[in-house]
Structures are given as structure tokens and as C-alpha cells.
């Protein structure tokens, strides 16, 4: 045998093709060296997740081959790939809510399904892994159902580490994480890599990819457009390759806010999740941001305003030209022109097994029916076609199942749902989470357009830059208290961060607190 000067890749994919209704992957080649962290970026729908699923046997490629350590590797299911030392931390959480953290973490590592899980051993293992990912404040016996989304994601990551696989595939592992939590993960990944593990890291956060990965590949329309060392890459370059054109990454300039009538008044609002009364108001055509650390009560505040959580005290009033109305429940809120896009799209946003059209019209069925409550299908078809065209929702037609749409398109159709209702006040919880750069820009542009047409937006985001580029005013929550209000003219990242941390100094050690 002749010796090759290049090191043999740990993992190689060659000519991978996959089609569902249309081609998703076209002739994908990828080589990853041992001890490398390899980034994989691309728009939603570019084929990243499908590729990852093929690597662990959750999907079968139509053609092409995989090699692991030079030997042919043909996983037929997840257990098979685990046996070969390949583990995935999938984008969709696979945790069982009714099991404890320890049971979840060790679910896939028990060598045989008959093996009795030794509780004590399991809990010790789990404790170590929880410490590793920065969840030392949890006990292994905590039920996963009680955790926040960020904590669940960290548990999912711990579960992947528990497999001690030599090739780790992480698909959007930081989508629900705050920056320090993500930083902890990146440190662990670098440690793993220097110990010889190989990592495939899929993310929309380009800065993360550039800082944590050794090499990165860009997927566009199912093809690898670029593979290069991260040292030679820049964010602009990645965006250019992903979008196929230079995307406008500048924040849209705000038009000046003229004094507008009050739209929403929240007074003394308290729920079981928000123990301190919260009062604020919002003017018509304003984009109001809500900032705070993970777990500071941002989501809870939106839920309380919308009427999803039962109120203990306080009131929410909507003012419009017909006067003032008080709302208590989601259906009253919707009738008063409020719309809500939730944080966890798959849990309480979309109907994944129903058609795109069903998902768009479900909150505004009155718009497409006659007075007797009979649906007029032709009205539905034209309304949905118009909205999906306006928002550029990519689909194979309005009857395509929601689960087959990419994350960005699902998120756009959630916006379409409220546009269909004619909502005048939108409550958006992380409106661009898990959405690619172009979809994100499209959503931002749409929000600005809505604002200019007189719609009021209240947006929660973990990305302070996003709020600063979008909002007219930012409220800051800290430890479930409303601690600050900042206007465009006088805010700075430092001031907002200081406010966000202000209520934690005394009773919580900094390690369990995470930055925006």
C-alpha cells in the first residue's frame, strides 16, 4: 500500500443524494478529519438536518456512501449508528417529559433494553454530566417536563455526551441557549475535540460556527457550495454563499415615531409565574422589545398578557376606535385583535400533521366562513395563497403538511395566521429562533412593514442586537420583575445588560444565570 500524505479522514460522505417530493440533497461530499469540529451552515431547507439524519441512520440516502475510519459505514437506525460510535443531538428534542433527568440522559446508553437501569449508578453519571453542561442546580431526579426549554436542550446535549461517541453530530444545539450557556457547550466541544473526538456542528449562529469550528461547509439547495478552514472565512462570506447573493445585514432604519394613541395598557398584572405586579403600556404602531435573561419571565409575561396563564391580579386593556376592552382569555384577546406567536413552535404553535392552509386560517375561521359558520373553501384557498405569496412561504402548495415545511417557513406561516386574522397587536416570542439569515431578514422586514401600517408589535428576543435594531423601546425583566425601560435614544447594550442582571445579585450565584 502506498502511503498518503494527507491524514485519512475520520468520517467521509461521498455523493450523497436524497429526494423526498423534490431533491433535498444533491451529490454531497464531505470529509472530516479526526479531532476536528466541522461546521455546517445553510438556510432552512438547505438540507442540513436531512444530511445529519442520514449520518445516523434516521434517514436513508438514495445514493452515495459513507465511510467511518476508512471502513464502509451503513447505519440502518440510531441504535446501529450508536454502536458504531456516532451520536446525534437532534434539533427536535427527544426527551420524555414524564421521566427524570437521569433516566432521560441514560435512555439510549443502556446496552440492552432488558438491562435494568441501576438507579444509583445512573444518577451519579447524570450528576457528572449535568455539572459538565452547566446544569449543576438540577438534581438527576427532576422530571424533564418541569424544565425550561433551555434546560431541556442542555439535558439533550448531556444525553448525547453520555453516549461517549467518537463522532458527535449537533444540530442547532444552541437555539434555545443563552450566550454563556452556549459558551459552556463550546468549551466542552473543544475539550472533546482535543481528546480526539470529531464533531459536526450545525448552526444558524455564524459567529459561533466561526469561533468554535476548525472547518466549515456551506450547504445551499442541497449542495455543498464551499468548504474551507474557518480562519479563511468571514460571516459575510458565509452569508454570501448561503444566500447566493449579498444579503443586507444592516438594520432597517426606523422612521420617526410620532405620538400615537395608546393601544395596550397592562396594569398590576400578576400570575403564579409572575409574582411581582407588572405595569406598562404600548402605543399604536410601536415595536416594543422585552429583554431579560433566560428564565427572567419574558415568556410568562407574554402568556399573561395574551391570557394563557391565569391571572392572579391586574388587568389587560386594549384601546381602539370603538373604546376600551378588557381581555382575560386567548379567545377574547384574539377578538380584540391580539395575535401570539409562541416560543416553542412545535409544542404550541403549529399543527404539524395538518395542511399549511389549516395552520394559517385556524385562528381566523370567521374570515373564511359565511354567517352560519359554514366554511367557504374557495375563500380559504385564495386567502392562504395570497398570504403565503406575500410572506414568501416556500411550500409545494397550500395543502402540504406543515411538518414537511422547514422551520423558517413554519415561522412565516405563523405570522401569516395572524395577518389573516387582521391582528393589530402581535405578541412574538423569539420570532426568529431557529430561522436562517434570509428568513430572519424577511421576518424583520415584514415586522417593520406591519409597524408602518399601524400594527403594534411586542417582541421577546434573546438576541439583544435583534431588539436594538428592531424596537422603538425595550423593557427589561430581571428575576421576574420589570426593572427597566429604555428608549432608542438613550439605550446601550451595557445599560440593558446591567438592568437584566440587577435582580440576581443577591440570591442566585452567577453560574446559574445566563446572559442575553
Amino acid at each position: 500500500m502506498t502511503s498518503d500524505t494527507r491524514p485519512r479522514p475520520r468520517f467521509a460522505a461521498q455523493g450523497i443524494c436524497k429526494s423526498f417530493a423534490s431533491p433535498v440533497l444533491r451529490d454531497v461530499d464531505l470529509e472530516i478529519s479526526s479531532g476536528h469540529i466541522h461546521g455546517l451552515v445553510g438556510e432552512n431547507g438547505a438540507g442540513k438536518s436531512t444530511l445529519a439524519k442520514i449520518f445516523v441512520g434516521l434517514e436513508r440516502a438514495d445514493s452515495g456512501s459513507l465511510r467511518l475510519d476508512g471502513k464502509p459505514y451503513r447505519p440502518i437506525n440510531a441504535a446501529d449508528s450508536l454502536g458504531a460510535g456516532v451520536a446525534i443531538c437532534a434539533q427536535e428534542l427527544s426527551l420524555v417529559d414524564d421521566l427524570s433527568v437521569a433516566e432521560n440522559i441514560l435512555l439510549q446508553t443502556s446496552t440492552s433494553s432488558l438491562a435494568r437501569i441501576r438507579r444509583k449508578f445512573a444518577e451519579e453519571r447524570a450528576l457528572k454530566l449535568l455539572d459538565l453542561v452547566g446544569l449543576e442546580h438540577l438534581t438527576p431526579r427532576t422530571l424533564v417536563g418541569l424544565l425550561s426549554l433551555a434546560e431541556k436542550q442542555l439535558v439533550e446535549i448531556a444525553k448525547t455526551f453520555a453516549t461517549e461517541a467518537k463522532l458527535l453530530i449537533l444540530d442547532e444545539p444552541t437555539s434555545a441557549l443563552t450566550a454563556p450557556q452556549a459558551e459552556v457547550l463550546h468549551r466542552i466541544l473543544r475539550d472533546k475535540a482535543s481528546d480526539g473526538a470529531t464533531v459536526i456542528y450545525i448552526s444558524h449562529r455564524l459567529r459561533d460556527v466561526l469561533s468554535v469550528c476548525d472547518r466549515a461547509s456551506v450547504l445551499r439547495d442541497g449542495q455543498v457550495r464551499l468548504t474551507a478552514d474557518c480562519g479563511e472565512l468571514s460571516e459575510q462570506r458565509l452569508i454570501h454563499e448561503m444566500a447566493g447573493a449579498d444579503a443586507d445585514f444592516e438594520a432597517t432604519p426606523r422612521s420617526s415615531v410620532s405620538p400615537a394613541p395608546l393601544h395596550l395598557t397592562v396594569e398590576g398584572l400578576r400570575t403564579s409565574n409572575l409574582p411581582y405586579a407588572i405595569s406598562f403600556n404600548c402605543r399604536r404602531g410601536e415595536i416594543l422589545g422585552i429583554a431579560g435573561l433566560a428564565g427572567s419571565g419574558r415568556t410568562e409575561l407574554l402568556n399573561a398578557v395574551f391570557g394563557l396563564d391565569k391571572r392572579v391580579a391586574g388587568s389587560v386593556k386594549i384601546h381602539d376606535k370603538d373604546g376600551t376592552a378588557e381581555t382575560r382569555s386567548p379567545w377574547q384577546s384574539i377578538r380584540c385583535g391580539i395575535g401570539m406567536v409562541t416560543e416553542d413552535r412545535s409544542k404550541d404553535g403549529i399543527f404539524r400533521d395538518q395542511a399549511l392552509a389549516f395552520n394559517v386560517t385556524i385562528a381566523g375561521l370567521g374570515q373564511i366562513s359565511d354567517r352560519s359558520g359554514r366554511l367557504v373553501h374557495s375563500k380559504e384557498t385564495s386567502a392562504v395563497a395570497r398570504l403565503t405569496r406575500a410572506l414568501r412561504v416556500r411550500s409545494h402548495g397550500i395543502h402540504q403538511k406543515m411538518r414537511e415545511l422547514s422551520g423558517g417557513n413554519q415561522q412565516k406561516s405563523m405570522l401569516a395566521r395572524w395577518l389573516h386574522c387582521g391582528s393589530q397587536l402581535l405578541l412574538l416570542d423569539e420570532p426568529t429562533r431557529g430561522v436562517d439569515v434570509t428568513a430572519k431578514l424577511a421576518i424583520h422586514a415584514e415586522l417593520v412593514r406591519l409597524r408602518d401600517s399601524g400594527v403594534t408589535v411586542i417582541a421577546v428576543s434573546s438576541e439583544l442586537e435583534e431588539l436594538q435594531s428592531l424596537c422603538d423601546r425595550i423593557l427589561v425583566l430581571s428575576n421576574r420583575k420589570l426593572v427597566g425601560e429604555f428608549h432608542r435614544r438613550d439605550w446601550s447594550q451595557q445599560k440593558i445588560l446591567a438592568a437584566a442582571f440587577s435582580e440576581y445579585d443577591r440570591d442566585i450565584e452567577p453560574s446559574s444565570v445566563s446572559i442575553l
Binding site: 386567548p330 377578538r335 404550541d348 399543527f351 400533521d353 395538518q354 385562528a363 375561521l365 366554511l375
Partner: protein, 314 residues
């Protein structure tokens, strides 16, 4: 040529249950000479109404993500109330019939309140109500079969020459009405939404408790009507009527493509499911299959239906 084959196979696939029903009918016609006859048709039609209306209700409940195990007993309770109303209280038939149907709706309302508003597991609530209703049926009839005579039977006896009774006409009308309700009304969409993703439905402004409760009331009401149909068919109120009917209704719904996980199903499908099970029963009896073997075959068909449905979905 290939194109034609492709199109035919797609049409066959989309109408799988109709095709299956046709296949079963053809199969029995080929083996048994007496199968394809007016007598068979008449026997079939007369058996159907009660199971059909109960299956409509069951389908709605299943699509909303629930289940209603009480319907078989409610059929007996409703029949019992009608029987007691006529035989003991001397009420006129229409009033007794309304009382029976209303009793069904009341049981449905109890199911709905406990299951949807008090958030008790609906499986257990309706299982309990299965016992409660059966017990009440024995109490109102004093555990006796109450003979009701010819007047009530006129509802179930086919009109001269046509082979069609008022009962079956009502049942068929309800199939059409409820299929329309499911496909083309706001309420139908809401049932699917709640069964598909309850929390998402709430965010979309639908009150899941109201929807769940309403379908259970409808299911109870339809089971009450089933009681009337059963009493009319037998000419008597039998407290042992409808034992195991809930399982036949679930089977019919599932054969018709309704998902036990909620969010998907069809009333017309459930009706074809009823036809498939009934044709199978009659056909097997005619070619001399014994009762135990009949049950084995029927059970296997139910499982086969789910396998076909899964294959079609993927």
C-alpha cells in the same frame, strides 16, 4: 399505458376502504350464491342504524383526541328509559323517545364535564360511565326486557317493497350531516385542531375544554338515538343491549381511517367501516363459518385495516 396504470393505482389507493368493501362483497358473491340478494341487503340495512350513529359520535370524539367507552351502555340506558317511559309511565312514544335521547346527552354531558373541565382522564371517566349507565339501564327496566309492541317497530321496519326503514334513512342522513360538520364548518375545524395539538389550539383562540365537552355530548346524544333505534329494531327495551358496541364503533372508526391519537378521521369512512364489519359478519355466517372463527377473522381485519392505513400514510 403506464400512466393509466399509475392513475388507476392512485385512485385505488385514495379510496382504499371503498375498494376493500367492494372486494369483500365480490368475494362473498363468488363463494355464496345466496349472498348477493335482497334478503341479505335487507338484513344488513336493518342491523346497521344503531352502530352507524354510535360510530359517528365515536369518530368525532376520537378526532378530538378523546375516547368514549360508555356508548354501548348508553344505548341500553336510552332504550331502557324509552321502555320504562312507555310501559310504566304510559308516555306517548315521541316523548319517551326524546327522553331516551336526552338521557344519552346527559351522560355525554357528565363525561364532558368530568373529562374536559375537571381534567380527569377521559378513558377512565367513560369507563366508569360504562358501568354507571349499564347499572341504570338494569334499574329502570327492573332487569327485564320490556316489550314495546308494533308501534315503535314501525321506525325500524322497512317500508313495503323498498327495504329501507326510517331508522336507516335517519342514520344515513346523519352520516352526511356530520361529515359536512367535520369538513366544512368552523366547529369541525376546531375538533381537528384540538385533537391535533391541544396547546396550539388554545393559542389559536379555541377553548379545548368546550370542544371536547361538546363532542362528548354529541356522542352521548347519538348513543341515545342508537338506543331508540335498537329498541325499534327489537320491538323491546333490552337492558343487555349494546354490550361491546363501543368496541365495534371504535373498530369501525379506525377501519375508516380515524386516528386514535386524534386530529384525523372521517365520518363517511367510519360508515364504510361499519359496512365492512357488517358485510363480513353476514357473509361469513352465510358461508357457514362458526361464531368463534368469525370473531378471529373480524379481529384480524381490524388489525389489517390499521396496517393498510399506516402503509397508505407513509
Amino acid at each position: 399505458m403506464n400512466e393509466v396504470v399509475g392513475r388507476v393505482s392512485r385512485i385505488l389507493e385514495e379510496n382504499l376502504i371503498f375498494v376493500s368493501l367492494l372486494a369483500i362483497v365480490v368475494f362473498f358473491s363468488l363463494i355464496s350464491e345466496s349472498f348477493l340478494s335482497l334478503t341479505t341487503l335487507s338484513t344488513l340495512l336493518n342491523q346497521l342504524p344503531a352502530l352507524t350513529v354510535v360510530s359517528i359520535g365515536m369518530t368525532l370524539v376520537l378526532i378530538s383526541g378523546g375516547i368514549d367507552l360508555s356508548v354501548g351502555s348508553v344505548v341500553a340506558l336510552s332504550a331502557g328509559v324509552i321502555g320504562a317511559g312507555i310501559a310504566i309511565l304510559g308516555l306517548p312514544l315521541p316523548i319517551a323517545a326524546c327522553l331516551g335521547i336526552l338521557t344519552g346527552a346527559l351522560v355525554g354531558f357528565a363525561n364532558g364535564s368530568l373529562g374536559a373541565y375537571l381534567r380527569l382522564p377521559i378513558f377512565i371517566v367513560t369507563l366508569g360511565m360504562l358501568e354507571v349507565s349499564r347499572g341504570l339501564a338494569y334499574i329502570v327496566t327492573d332487569s327485564q326486557t320490556v316489550y314495546l309492541g308494533a308501534k315503535i317497530q314501525s321506525f325500524a321496519v322497512p317500508w313495503a317493497g323498498s327495504g329501507i326503514s326510517a331508522s336507516i334513512l335517519v342514520a344515513l342522513t346523519l352520516v352526511v350531516v356530520f361529515e359536512f360538520l367535520l369538513r366544512s364548518t368552523i366547529f369541525g375545524r376546531q375538533i381537528v385542531a384540538v385533537g391535533s395539538n391541544e396547546s396550539a389550539a388554545e393559542v389559536a383562540g379555541i377553548d379545548p375544554r368546550r370542544v371536547r365537552c361538546t363532542v362528548l355530548v354529541l356522542s352521548g346524544l347519538l348513543a341515545g338515538l342508537g338506543g331508540l333505534m335498537n329498541a325499534a329494531y327489537l320491538g323491546s327495551a333490552d337492558p343487555n343491549a349494546g354490550i361491546g358496541l363501543e368496541l365495534s364503533a371504535i373498530a369501525a372508526a379506525v377501519i375508516g381511517g380515524t386516528s386514535l391519537m386524534g386530529g384525523r378521521g372521517s365520518v363517511v369512512g367510519a360508515f364504510v367501516g361499519v359496512l365492512i364489519v357488517s358485510v363480513l359478519q353476514i357473509g361469513l355466517a352465510q358461508i357457514g363459518i362458526t361464531e368463534p372463527t368469525k370473531r378471529v377473522i373480524t379481529g384480524a381485519v381490524i388489525i389489517l385495516a390499521v396496517i393498510l392505513d399506516r402503509w397508505r400514510a407513509s
